[in-house]
Amino acid sequence: MSNLQLTQEGHLKHFITIEGLSKEILTNILDTAESFIGISQQQVKKVPLLRGKTIVNLFFENSTRTRTTFELAASRLSADVISIDIQTSATSKGESLLDTIRNLEAMHVDIFVVRHAISGAGHFIAQNTAPHISVINAGDGQHAHPTQAMLDMFTIRQHKHEFNTLKVGIIGDILHSRVVRSQIQALNTLGVEEIRVVAPKTLLPSHVEQLGVSVFNNIEESLDDLDVIIMVRLQKERMTSALLPSEREYFKCFGLTDERLKLAKADAIVMHPGPINRGVEIASSIADGPQSVILQQVSNGIAIRMAVMSLTLQNKEYAV
């Protein structure tokens, strides 16, 4: 997997998953994003780094925020960017997915940003696309969402500076979350002290502890001494598939309330990849409160995506 993502010189070519990437590469992404953070605050929010490059956002699954931040990231780097929404029903077979890719390839694209409902789709496209094209995974099934994980790492670093002393809790639907898988890999690669995952057993995948986390079924026990609390969105359809009895009971058992937040460290930050369900996984008073960094995550998303885009394309030029 790591070989697929790296050039022969060990530079980033595709960004499909955090797995297999070194601490140096992840830190380089964070540092590069740091250098881009000022651009969004300038009067002219543009640098000519990717002028003349073409970036295509291929969204086989709907997403407003992720797509928008990728579009903004591309245009702030002066690339030409188009976004295509493709209903999954039209491309439910691999061959037509491949045909879509081939057609766009013929239009001399430099980067595909892909979101797809099936795990492994980004990997499949990276393996089957022309060698000069970089693929950035904007979320595939329940597998990975590496740019989201990196913007979370970026936000954590802004507040906590060092990773190695941190205790991080991830609370919510661990089973279905691609974000969580990527976050766990990133946190472990960056060397945090402890990762705790917190959920009822119906929302925990089997053998999850082998990902390098400790498992809690009780939120109160899990919050003690935490530096970072990451809440995970709960999809409404989990109620109808016998995973949970009701939103109310979920909030009662696993929702982040003001009383519970006091159990963590006083300077703990609260994160959420959004969109948030107020009163389901998190109380409004916390989402809008002083410990919340949720909106910062969104702004950081642009810088991280700029960093990943520029790194994959720059490295390609070095390789040539």
Binding site: E19, G94, E95, L97, H116, I118, A121, Q142, R181, S206
Partner: protein, 426 residues
């Protein structure tokens, strides 16, 4: 019919307790004599089997030919040629052809085609339920008369246990073997890989081993209730082996087989998102693999099948969960069996029995042995001969194997079906 004399081979015939170098005499398509010389035998064809092993032709309990209905994946001709090249002289065709094997007409069509192709003998398995829909019984007695050797619902689910109970009762009234692939579909939850660390790591929906062991437990109880002769096909997990072992101890009339690749690969061997490894039942854990091997060695598992499932390229071209499950595996059956002998899991005689005598006995057919008077179904192979899994050597229309590019030891040199040479290594 020609007279054939196979000389100097190491003849291994587990059914008749033979393991000795000597001659095999064939006349009129039948075995005439093993080891005992026949006076004045003037052979039309003489095959020198020096350094080779001569054994009963293999009987494979599950080979998808994709014909009729899915000939873009393989044809009866292409897949029986592949089977013949693998030493398989008889193969069971599961009923999930298109149309399904639930009428006399489809059965006869397959028999006609197989006769015309004239490679391995094809034993059609009839659908247990009409259209494999799991609701109404198929016309089992008629299908048996038309030449079906057993009934099965392939990998299709049954509506409920009452349907299965009645199907088993009806099948046993007609003395028909019921072959069941143990799977509790409601627990599969659209899974495409074993539910374990691999599925968690790559975010792939998993199939728990309980899906199989729960089905095994249910089917065992119904076998006990109905007295039906039951065969479990392609078991994959430790819990299933244990349950089958216990049931056998209590005298329930059951047998079981395992697909050859389940004895070699686990979830740890899967290259991430490589669809060649997408197979149902999925590759499970090292513990499961060890128990399957143990079960094979102690006779809990009676037979090894290939579970051959050729696919066209498009079927495997996509993100892992979207691709079709199955491995084209008949041609790697013998070399992978020989690996089990090499690492002392089973003896060579056991391995051959699992591929010939035992499947024949499960099906209740006079085959799988070199008994004089039986059809001369013979496989001759060189256990030391290396070959590579590549375009040049591969016969199946399906290239979907995780072993593509690998080099194996053990190659068939000749295959004879009813005294006719259906394969010779060039």
């Amino acid at each position: 019919m020609k007279k054939i004399h196979i000389t100097n081979g190491r003849i291994i015939d587990p059914a008749n307790h033979i393991d000795q170098t000597g001659s095999l005499y064939i006349a009129d398509g039948k075995i005439l004599s093993v080891l005992n010389p026949i006076a004045d035998f003037s052979a039309d064809i003489s095959i020198d089997a020096t350094n080779n092993i001569v054994c009963p032709g293999f009987i494979d309990l599950s080979v998808r030919l994709r014909d009729p209905g899915q000939t873009h994946k393989g044809t009866l001709q292409s897949e029986t040629i592949a089977a013949a090249s693998a030493g398989v002289t008889g193969l069971c065709l599961p009923p999930d052809t298109q149309p399904v094997i639930d009428t006399q007409a489809v059965t006869e069509l397959i028999n006609d085609k197989a006769e015309k192709a004239n490679y391995s003998q094809v034993y059609p398995i009839a659908a247990l339920t009409y259209q494999l829909a799991g609701k109404e019984l198929s016309s089992m007695a008629t299908l048996k008369q038309a030449g079906c050797v057993a009934v099965s619902n392939a990998n299709a689910p049954l509506a409920n246990l009452l349907v299965l109970r009645r199907a088993m009762e009806y099948a046993s009234s007609h003395n028909l073997l019921v072959i069941l692939h143990p799977e509790e579909h409601s627990l599969n939850n659209n899974g495409c890989t074993h539910e374990g660390f691999f599925s968690t790591r790559y975010g792939l929906p998993g199939i728990p081993e309980a899906s199989e062991s729960i089905a095994v437990a249910q089917y065992l109880e119904l076998a006990r209730l109905t007295g039906c002769r039951l065969h479990f096909s392609q078991i994959s997990c430790k819990a299933a082996v244990i349950k089958i072992q216990q049931a056998k101890k209590y005298g329930i009339n059951i047998t079981a087989d395992v697909a050859i690749h389940q004895l070699h690969l686990t979830e740890n061997d899967i290259e991430p998102f490589n669809s060649s490894y997408h197979v149902i039942p999925p590759f499970r854990t090292t513990k499961d693999l060890q128990k399957l091997r143990e079960g094979l060695a102690n006779g809990t598992i009676n037979a090894i099948c290939s579970d051959h499932q050729p696919h066209d390229l498009d079927a495997k071209l996509g993100a892992f969960p979207e691709t079709e499950p199955g491995i084209a595996s008949v041609e790697t059956l013998l070399p992978l069996m020989l690996c089990l002998v090499e690492d002392n899991t089973i003896t060579l005689s056991q391995g051959i029995a699992c591929l010939s005598q035992n499947p024949a006995s499960i099906l209740g057919i006079n085959s799988g042995a070199l008994t004089p008077g039986f059809n001369a179904d013979v496989c001759i192979f060189n256990a030391a001969l290396s070959w590579a899994v590549n375009q040049q050597n591969w016969k199946s229309a399906g290239l979907n194997t995780p072993y593509w590019g690998e080099v194996f030891k053990g190659r068939v040199t000749h295959t004879l079906q009813s005294g006719k040479i259906i394969y010779t290594l060039e």
